[in-house]
């Protein structure tokens, strides 16, 4: 009998060969989207499940993994539909399905080594779609692959130390080393400055929809694995130190992301730095420790997916029309593609945390708790958010400028389907901005079933 949670791995992996064969036709994209959507709904609707043993190791689908995987599967389904009209490389559909299955396995594993190996396999399967068939520079895919591979030994060594402790409690003296290895590995996975190179490189170099998926999926899975250790692992006793470390790392990442986002000259690199800023905010929300910031953290997971999906899809649409994403070459884009331009700004402002967008109220909650710890940190995050917004406003300025070459006006606009999805996602972020109650309700439910560790 197959344990129900395993369907989250089996369904996408099983559909992969068929999707690969059909990848050149629309039916491949629709099939991939259908499988991802069904698996996402399945993940969302699972009742609490029992732990399983596979290869002698423990696997368990906890509510956090369940909701994060549901989010990723549904996000992937939407991006698959958009990618059919805004090509991202044909290997995107099958390899992204494999990637999702491996991430589900990594999220369910309760052994650090197995989780790390699964995430590494997921990273390897993502490499070709980050390259996306683009000849020439391989910097984004290579940096991503290298960093993910270099993180693996740290997790394996941490898992070894923990296994030694489980076999013999006298080995507790090595648990400090396990925590150190875990911190080093997590620093790479969470793209903590100065180890953020893979994240910004993927943002700048990968096809935009692929970047949106990768920049959402890998950090979210890293956060899930980190929370599993912090809340479930009996061996980990450095919660207070971990909280301080996460707070510092989050503030530095958010400040760096915001500062550098303001000076970017293209929408793709801007998305990378905006994603870095947003990830820093998530780390801060996790580490601050208040009830408001915990709500902001769980709401922030979903908003990150929404913001990056919207930004990635709109960037792909604009790039498909103009042939580039640099601000200087996008003159006339706002006039020719007003909906895509509006969607791009809505996505960028969502990542920045501006008012009227989905992220504003959760950020406000975060600032409320953060101000009690240190008001200056609030101003730091606000300034960094303004930096991201400035980056997108500079891009808007470039899109509002007159076109440099009249011939550009003859180029095709994106299909109605892609535009419809952009409008729908844009309206969703605005709707959640006006009515944040629905999102906070889900975040509150998640907080009840999977509380954050008390730092």
């Amino acid at each position: 009998v197959i344990e129900p949670p395993l369907w989250l791995v089996i369904l996408p992996m099983g559909a992969m060969p068929l999707v690969y064969l059909l990848r050149r036709w629309g039916v491949g994209a629709y099939l991939a989207a259908l499988v991802a959507l069904l698996t996402g709904l399945l993940a969302w609707s699972f009742p609490p499940t029992n732990p399983m043993r596979l290869m002698g190791r423990l696997f368990r689908l906890d509510p956090l993994t369940q909701h994060v995987m549901a989010l990723l599967f549904v996000m992937a389904a939407i991006l698959f539909l958009i990618a059919w009209r805004l090509p991202q490389g044909r290997a995107f559909f099958p390899l992204a399905l494999a990637w999702l299955g491996l991430l589900a396995a990594a999220g369910m594993s309760r052994h650090l080594g197995i989780s790390a190996l699964m995430v590494t396999l997921a990273a390897i399967s993502t490499t070709p779609i980050i390259q996306g068939g683009q000849p020439g520079s391989t910097r984004a895919a290579w940096r991503f692959l290298t960093m993910m591979l270099l993180a693996l030994p740290f997790f394996l060594l941490a898992a070894w130390r923990v296994d030694l402790y489980r076999e013999d409690v006298d080995n507790a003296i090595y648990l400090g080393q396990a925590a150190l290895f875990l911190a080093l590995g997590m620093s790479i996975w969470l793209a903590v400055v100065p180890l953020h190179g893979w994240l910004t490189a993927v943002g700048a170099g990968a096809p935009s929809l692929v970047a949106a998926l990768a920049l959402t999926g890998f950090p979210l899975l890293a956060l899930v694995n980190l929370l599993q250790v912090l809340t479930e692992a009996t061996w980990f006793t450095w919660t207070a130190q971990a909280g301080r470390l996460l707070l510092t790392a989050g503030l530095i990442s958010a400040a760096t992301g915001g500062l550098l986002a303001a000076v970017q000259r293209g929408f793709r690199p801007l998305m990378g730095y905006a994603a870095l800023f947003d990830l820093g905010c998530l780390l801060v929300a996790m580490a601050v420790g208040g009830s408001n910031s915990a709500l902001a953290f769980y709401a922030g997971l979903a908003i990150r997916g929404l913001g990056l999906a919207l930004t990635g899809a709109a960037t792909a649409a604009v790039q498909g029309w103009a042939g580039e994403d640099g601000f200087d070459g996008l003159g006339g884009a706002a006039r020719r593609m007003p909906l895509a331009t509006a969607a791009l700004m809505a996505g960028g402002f969502t990542l920045a945390g501006l008012p009227l967008t989905a992220s504003f109220f959760p950020r406000w909650l975060l600032f409320h708790d953060l101000a009690q710890a240190n008001p200056r940190w609030v101003w730091l995050l606000v300034a960094a958010g303004v930096g991201v917004a400035v980056g997108y406003l500079r891009g808007l300025n470039g899109m509002l400028a007159s076109p440099a070459e009249p011939v550009r006006g003859q180029q095709p606009r994106p299909s109605w389907l892609a535009t419809a999805w952009l409008v729908a996602l844009g309206l969703l972020t605005l709707g959640l901005g006006f009515f944040p109650g629905l999102l906070l309700q889900v975040a509150g439910h998640l907080l009840d079933v999977y509380p954050l560790p008390p730092f």
Binding site: L117, L121, I124, G133, T146
Partner: protein, 252 residues
């Protein structure tokens, strides 16, 4: 056919210390040599030597799996290099242009000899700017790399004495440190996927020397092998994409 244990017995003259010494040689060669075929041979030798070392520490059958994985990895990289139309070098190490012309003025440039290899029929080879091709593999010169390798050797010795690796003999710890450091050095020196990929694989071999004796789960051994093979496929894919700037569609 002789059994694995009989083969190992016949090869007992290759002591662990000798194998570790060989690892120093192969690691150094991968950094110093620009010629991709010599470099791949050094990588293959590295897998064999690491297998010899591991066969004396863990079950020889498990060590054999690791050697077989290495034996699969190198041909995959070789085919990728051919597919990418990698240029052959004027010898193992780079020789300055003036010296090469003085030694052999009539000798044609390497791209002329090897242009078109691995390309589809009917493709007209475009002569690359030679300086670009060289600098793409290793922007740093031979003297710099030699100095860097020497520093890494000193660092290896210092690290293995200051922080000896647990659960493995000191000489194996030395080899492990060396491969990890030399692999990281290659990653720092180049971003060309075929060469840097060898650096990444070297780091992984170094880590395996440390990790294989402590991880006894067969499931982990197989997962590790799968990671290695898929990683090589990814490196091969990127190597082709990196060199294939003229191709309109390099997608899978």
């Amino acid at each position: 056919l002789p059994s694995l244990y009989e083969i190992l017995d016949q090869l007992r003259f290759i002591t662990r210390e000798l194998a570790v010494l060989g690892l120093f040689l192969t690691g150094g060669l991968i950094v110093l040599v620009r010629d991709w075929r010599t470099s791949l041979l050094a990588l293959l030798a590295q897998y064999l030597l690491a297998g010899f070392v591991l066969a004396r520490l863990i079950l020889p059958e498990v060590a054999l799996i690791k050697v077989l994985v290495g034996a699969l990895i190198c041909p995959m990289l070789y085919l990728a290099a051919r597919q990418a139309g990698w240029l052959a070098d004027r010898g193992v190490f780079r020789v300055p242009d003036a010296l090469a012309n003085w030694v052999s003025p009539s000798r044609p440039h390497s791209w002329r000899r090897h242009a078109g290899q691995g390309m589809p029929m009917g493709t007209v080879p475009v002569p690359p700017r030679e300086e670009d091709a060289w600098s793409d593999v290793f922007p740093a010169g031979l003297a710099f790399r030699l100095l860097a390798v020497t520093l890494m050797a000193l660092l290896t010795v210092a690290l293995s004495q200051t922080f000896p690796l647990p659960n493995i003999p000191p000489d194996v710890g030395l080899g492990s440190y060396w491969l990890i450091l030399i692999g990281l050095l290659i990653l720092m020196l180049t971003e060309a996927p075929l060469k840097a990929g060898q650096g990444l694989l070297t780091v992984i071999i170094g880590f395996e020397l440390l990790y294989a004796p402590i991880e006894r789960s067969l499931a982990m051994v197989w997962l590790w092998a799968v990671v290695n093979l898929l990683l090589t496929l990814a490196i091969a894919y990127l190597a082709v994409a990196h060199q294939d700037a003229g191709s309109p569609e390099g997608d899978l």
